[in-house]
């Protein structure tokens, strides 16, 4: 599983992504269709061991089985 520079800048590691893929849930409303490569990017959301709320977009490829498109940390909204 390859992580891009932007994940590094967000201080998200491969182990956190794997943990969320194992324990998170499919967030169907966030799925997105990639018209360039004609396949779906599926959103998986969950908490990391450090309680970070992450959303990961994954795509399936015939040979590599799964690739990670990108990972975001969902920022908590603050009111006041």
């Amino acid at each position: 599983m390859h992580l891009e520079q932007r994940e590094v800048e967000r201080n998200i590691t491969r182990r956190e992504v794997l943990y969320v893929l194992k324990t998170g849930f499919h967030e169907q409303k966030e799925d997105d269709f990639d018209e360039v490569y004609n396949n779906w990017h599926y959103a998986v959301r969950g908490k990391s061991l450090d309680d970070r709320d992450l959303r990961i977009f994954v795509s399936f490829d015939e040979e590599t089985m799964m690739i990670i498109i990108t990972t975001f940390e969902i920022q908590r909204k603050t009111y006041g």
Binding site: L3, E7, V8, R14, D50
Partner: protein
């Protein structure tokens, strides 16, 4: 599918840079990405961290903790400290932590015990006694780990 071997590639997926050499690459969706077994790669990195001649950095400690799927509290309990202490270690980022040499030895022995089997623990302990690791504050800010992918199972 396009494939090639790239001389060098820096992987950041562990939270710190690891220089990979002779890396099989594969083109996926128009981008070249390493075609490696990341589980084997991370095991190799953990073994290298056991033998690293300098103190472990904050990001390396974080990688070890997350590899074993331990929370801050679980990691702290395992190594006999309070969890804010682990937070402090990890906040050193790419600098060596200020943990005691005894704790660092314990962490490295824990690693080797979980990766290579008990017989090697004694060998590693002897290695620490003969060549204690050094603090590298005055040397370079970051000692990059290098792994030749020809030696890692793909």
């Amino acid at each position: 599918m396009d494939k090639t071997i790239q001389n060098e590639f820096i992987d950041y997926g562990c939270g710190f840079p690891v220089l990979l050499k002779n890396v099989p690459m594969r083109k996926v969706h128009g981008k070249w990405i390493p075609d490696v077994n990341y589980n084997e790669l991370e095991k190799s990195i953990l073994i290298m961290l056991c033998h690293k001649p300098f103190k472990l950095t904050g990001n390396e400690i974080r990688f070890i903790r997350l590899y074993f799927e331990m929370t801050l509290k679980e990691f702290a309990n395992r190594f006999g400290v309070q969890h804010p202490t682990v937070v402090k270690w990890e906040n050193f980022k790419n600098d060596p932590t200020n943990m005691t040499l005894g704790t660092e030895k314990d962490i490295r022995l824990f690693l080797i015990g979980h990766i290579k089997g008990k017989r090697k623990i004694a060998d590693l302990y002897t290695e620490f006694e003969q060549k204690p690791f050094r603090t590298n504050r005055s040397v370079e800010p970051l000692q990059t780990i290098e792994i030749d992918m020809e030696g890692v199972a793909i």
